[in-house]
């Protein structure tokens, strides 16, 4: 009689709604709080970034055309799915060193953050759109519209709450994204992809990669079919920050930097996180018989 051998999960990437291994065949080791190996994560390559951007771009049309109400419900659905999987995420966070109380707080905050942004889905347009009283006989209004594909560096710490806090404001506004998970703690990002996969989020809306930031920085910031790059690392190296800005200038990407130390702070959720990834479109229409 021997003990049952546990079945370990293979952590892959999430691109276009599929869990695929990196095309490069490379991996890197992920350790738990006691420096014991937890799993092999994919060390994604330039090609993976490019594949993910293709998936994200293909999803823009459909996702941005969904009604705001529908997008709100889908974000709410993600929260529901996460709620039912709390135990799994608490366990996962504990393996990387979280105390039980901290892990519970992180998952609860993550769920609440999704609810917060779900509620904004059909309201930010009303708060930030305008009707403009032009001095001519035209009806003139300005509305926020999604910018398109957003590449994201998820925060390194708070690997679940941070991840959700950067994805939610981007997708609630009709954008799609390619997210590079926390380099040190990538596993719960892939588990979160399982949640997305069962939450009616259309394929390609959120794509999650794992790998080395330094290696993927260039590929994520120079891609010409990407509209914005979003990162929140408060301690970013000045040379890296400069490189991100310079690469963004190639096609005038929006480079959105929001240094955040602790995602549990109240001000880390805001409709202004949504509007950073919106363009303003102004329409003129003549008024007359």
């Amino acid at each position: 009689m021997s003990d049952r051998i546990e079945v370990l999960k293979t952590y892959k990437t999430y691109i276009g709604g599929n869990f695929t291994r990196t095309e490069s065949g490379r991996y890197y080791k992920v350790y738990d709080g006691n420096d014991e190996i937890l799993a092999n994560a994919c060390q994604c390559s330039r090609k993976d970034v490019r594949d993910a951007v293709v998936a994200a771009r293909s999803a823009v049309e459909g996702w941005s055309s969904r009604t705001a109400y529908n997008r709100g419900q889908i974000l709410y659905r993600i929260a529901e799915m996460l709620e039912t999987r709390k135990a799994q995420f608490i366990e996962e966070l504990e393996t990387i060193g979280y105390k039980n109380k901290g892990a519970k707080a992180e998952i609860n905050d993550s769920i609440d953050r999704l609810i917060y942004y779900a509620g904004w889905a059909d309201k930010y347009q009303q708060v930030f759109g305008t009707i403009n009283p032009v001095a001519s006989s035209h009806f003139n209004f300005s509305m926020p519209e999604p910018t398109g594909v957003v590449n994201i560096w998820a925060p390194d710490d708070q690997p679940l709450l941070g991840l959700i806090s950067v994805i939610a404001p981007v997708i609630v506004g009709g954008n799609t994204c390619v997210v590079l998970a926390s380099e040190q703690y990538p596993l719960c990002a892939i588990s979160f992809a399982e949640v997305l996969n069962s939450s009616d989020v259309p394929e390609g809306v959120v794509n999650i990669l794992t790998g080395y930031r330094e290696e993927l920085l260039e590929h994520m910031t120079t891609h010409m079919d990407v509209n914005a790059f979003f990162y929140t690392d408060p301690n970013i190296d000045q040379d890296q920050r400069k490189q991100i800005d310079e690469n963004g200038a190639l096609n005038l990407k929006h480079i959105i930097r929001k240094p955040v130390k602790n995602w549990q702070e109240e001000e880390t959720q805001s409709p202004y996180f949504i509007t950073e990834f919106q363009e303003t479109k102004t329409t003129w229409h003549p008024v007359g018989y």
Binding site: H138, Q238, N251, K281
Partner: protein
């Protein structure tokens, strides 16, 4: 319906006949316009201008000047100072001092009153400004008088009122000024672009170092006189003249908090790169290649007027110009014929004549660039059609031009020409029209012409442009945000949204 079945070849072969029944009106021989010159007696231009720094005109430290040429006569109007590092340093220092000591401290409502004064002073001297704008930049007096200057005044009037109401603009946040704004403006709408930049900057409590384009600095320098007349505290507005070199000194100056630039996408990218790694906030208002989409159910005659206005307004020196006409196949020949007829009636000539529709191209450099594109278009295999008007012997003038038989990959379809040059493509379905409209790195403005309301909103929401003109084109208003998607820029100018680039938001 017979006329709609004509082939492109037939259209091509038919030479324009002013007396033919298809050309409805013959203005050329039968009707002639008398000269209607705008007197310049009331417009005073000095022989030489220094920089406007700390409330006074100051000679450039290095003593270098650039000529300011009237593009319609090729004569020198005045000379302007060439700004060097020392001049820019002085201007930034003056702006910083004014910001710290005065402008950031006075009541917002008082700040607003200064901006109101500027609006009124522009209105009072509007005609003088219009004349100088036309002399300096070549634009028809009708446009500078009826569009540029009144809109510039309106911008100051609009933003003045915002000064003490910023709490209502950003729900849940407190807006604070940034400090010193460096602003670099283009030559196509000189005073209007100054207004777009200076008015929101001042209203939100920032001070300004502005560099006008070297070919069109005169109205900015006249505006400096208004700042003095308005009693605006010294150093709140500083104007440094010079070339792009001077502009880059402003962009790279360490004591500037915000850069606002309007100009080409090429330079916009250089600026974004220069600002990499800094904390400077920036807005970029860049190039465009605006699609103007005409559906079969559009009111054709109105659409033709709209197409003309979209591309020939201000000699086509408009970043949001409707320079790509996309016309639905069934009406293409009819639209092209009507366009040609309408083009024949356009008067190209003296910018100071009140009847002139199309004035002078802004500079020799731009004139050469447009002509290179005309040559390129022909070499790429496109069919060129130009109106038969006679051009003045002196000055830089360009005939209104159409290109047909072009494809999406032609450079004249892809690149911004910034002149009175229209390319014409056709499409069958709305989807094809939208796809062609969006097949460009630009995304500034576009037009949609149809009598069907639902189609306007569908197409309008699918084209990736910051401004959509439905059954109209090239309208501007201070309350209406303007700015581009994709490589046409970042941020908005005008409207409530135009305040955001000049503030930082805190909880």
């Amino acid at each position: 319906m017979a006329e709609e079945q004509e082939t492109a070849e037939q259209i091509k072969e038919e030479a324009f006949k002013p007396s033919s029944p298809t050309s409805k009106l013959n203005f050329k021989d039968v009707w002639t316009y008398d000269d209607a010159p705008q007197s310049t007696a009331n417009a005073k231009i000095d022989d030489q201008y220094g920089h406007f720094i700390d409330g006074t005109f100051q000679k450039p430290v290095k003593g270098r000047y650039l000529p300011s040429i009237n593009p319609a006569t090729e004569e020198e109007l005045s000379s302007i100072a060439e700004g060097t590092q020392q001049d820019v340093d002085k201007a930034v220092k003056s702006a910083r001092k004014a910001y710290t000591k005065i402008w950031s401290k006075i009541d917002a409502s008082e700040r607003g009153k200064y901006v109101f004064r500027l609006a009124r002073l522009i209105q009072e001297r509007a005609r003088e400004f219009a004349i100088i704008e036309s002399q300096d930049g070549g634009k028809p007096i009708r446009e500078s008088r009826d569009v540029d200057i009144p809109l510039a005044a309106a911008h100051f009037f609009y933003y003045a009122g915002w000064a003490d109401k910023l709490d209502y603009a950003f729900p849940g946040k407190n807006a604070h000024s940034l400090g010193v704004a460096g602003q670099i403006i283009p030559w196509n709408f000189p005073l209007l672009m100054l207004a777009w930049k200076v008015a929101p900057a001042l209203a939100t409590g920032n001070t300004v170092v502005l560099k006008p384009a070297e070919t069109t600095s005169l109205t900015a320098l006249k505006f400096a006189e208004l700042c003095r007349d308005a009693g605006l505290p010294e150093g709140v507005v500083n104007i440094v003249t010079g070339t792009g070199q001077t502009g880059s000194l402003i962009v790279n100056h360490e004591d500037i908090n915000k850069i606002a630039f309007t100009g080409s996408t090429e330079v916009g990218k250089i600026i974004m790169k220069s600002l990499a790694g800094t904390d400077k906030k920036y807005t970029l208002e860049l190039g465009g290649k605006g699609p103007n989409i005409i559906f079969e159910d559009a009111p054709i005659d109105q659409a033709v007027e709209g197409i003309i206005n979209a591309i020939f307004f201000n000699q086509g020196h408009v970043c949001c110009a409707g320079s790509r006409l996309l016309v639905q196949e069934g009406i293409a020949n009819r639209v092209i014929r009507k366009l040609r007829d309408r083009m024949e009636t356009l008067i190209v000539g003296d910018p100071l004549d009140k009847n002139t529709d199309i004035g002078a191209v802004n500079s020799e450099q731009q004139y050469n660039k447009i002509n290179e594109y005309l040559e390129l278009g022909v070499n790429e295999g496109a069919e060129m059609y130009q109106s038969s008007c006679t051009l003045p012997e002196q000055g830089y003038f360009c005939r209104p031009t159409l290109f047909t038989n072009v494809s999406q990959s032609n450079r004249i379809v892809r690149e911004e020409i910034f002149g009175p040059v229209l390319t014409i493509q056709t499409f069958r379905t709305a989807e094809e029209g939208i796809e062609k409209a969006n097949n460009t790195p630009y995304g500034l403005a576009g037009g949609v012409w149809t009598d069907k309301g639902s189609k306007i909103f569908k197409v309008g929401s699918k084209i990736r442009n910051g401004v959509v003109w439905a059954n109209t084109y090239n309208h501007f208003d201070p309350t209406s945000p303007f700015g581009g998607y994709k490589e046409s820029g970042k941020g908005r100018e005008g409207g409530l949204q135009g305040l955001y680039p000049y503030v930082k938001l805190e909880n």
